[in-house]
């Protein structure tokens, strides 16, 4: 069970792209919390979480994303999710988080 996080600031679109790979659970999700705090301190811009490589998330992982959502909102910035796998989309949907975290277009 491991988590790999790769954050890149995309100058063109002026936002953070954070790739989250592996499994995000009670053991690993604090790593994401720290990383999201770190990058937002570095540059207060919108954050995109790319979940293409994320296989598993639990409520502590969701909690970390909700926490970041709140902190960014205070600064009028947004965090959003792209490429969630089916099982993760299911959890986002049943908790209603899809509505605030997944951009409809």
């Amino acid at each position: 069970m491991t988590l790999k996080i790769e954050s890149i600031f995309n100058e063109k679109s002026n936002r953070w792209i954070v790739q989250i790979i592996g499994e995000m659970d009670v053991l690993t999700s604090k790593e994401l919390r720290e990383e999201l705090i770190r990058i937002f301190n570095e540059k207060q811009e919108n954050i995109i979480l790319d979940l293409q490589g994320l296989n598993y998330i639990d409520s502590t992982g969701l909690g970390v994303i909700i926490g970041a959502y709140g902190r960014l909102k205070e600064k009028e910035k947004e965090i959003s999710i792209i490429n969630p796998k089916q099982n993760i989309l299911k959890l986002l949907t049943i908790t209603g988080l899809d509505k605030i975290l997944i951009k409809q277009n």
Partner: protein
């Protein structure tokens, strides 16, 4: 005929992954499809998180996971002899107003077919969840 498996697991975040793997393998054996296996895995992990984070908050002891495989259902019981809580004070999450915590039991109830919780302050907590095949 019922097959019964029981796991005694240290109350530490490090071991939730072991339970998740074991329970997935049992659910697969029981004949659930991939989506149901995933549901069971997530629900059991949430109950383990609660046992570890709220029940036995100081890593002191083990908690137990019991699995009963019946012909038409899988029943899983997660039990800790930890702090327990007053279930009357439980508030379901307000989904329009997301907060960092408070989603675990809600997720369990959504993913499983039947959920029963017994908890007594100072004595511990038992959550029993059933999924039909």
């Amino acid at each position: 005929m019922t097959d019964f498996l029981k796991f005694s697991i240290p109350g530490k975040p490090e071991y939730v992954g072991v339970v998740r793997l074991a329970v997935s393998s049992i659910a697969n054996r029981a004949g659930f499809d991939i989506e149901a296996i995933e549901d069971i895995k997530v629900a059991v992990a949430e109950a383990c998180n609660n046992a570890i984070l709220h029940g036995i908050s100081d890593n002191c002891c083990n908690f137990e996971v019991g699995c009963f495989l019946e012909n038409d259902r899988l029943i899983i019981e997660i039990e800790d002899k930890g702090h327990g809580y007053n279930m009357n004070e439980y508030v379901a999450p307000d989904l329009c107003n997301p907060k960092e915590g408070g989603l675990g039991i809600f997720i369990i109830k959504t993913l499983m077919d039947e959920v029963e919780i017994l908890s007594n302050t100072g004595e511990g907590t038992m959550i029993k969840m059933t999924k039909y095949i």
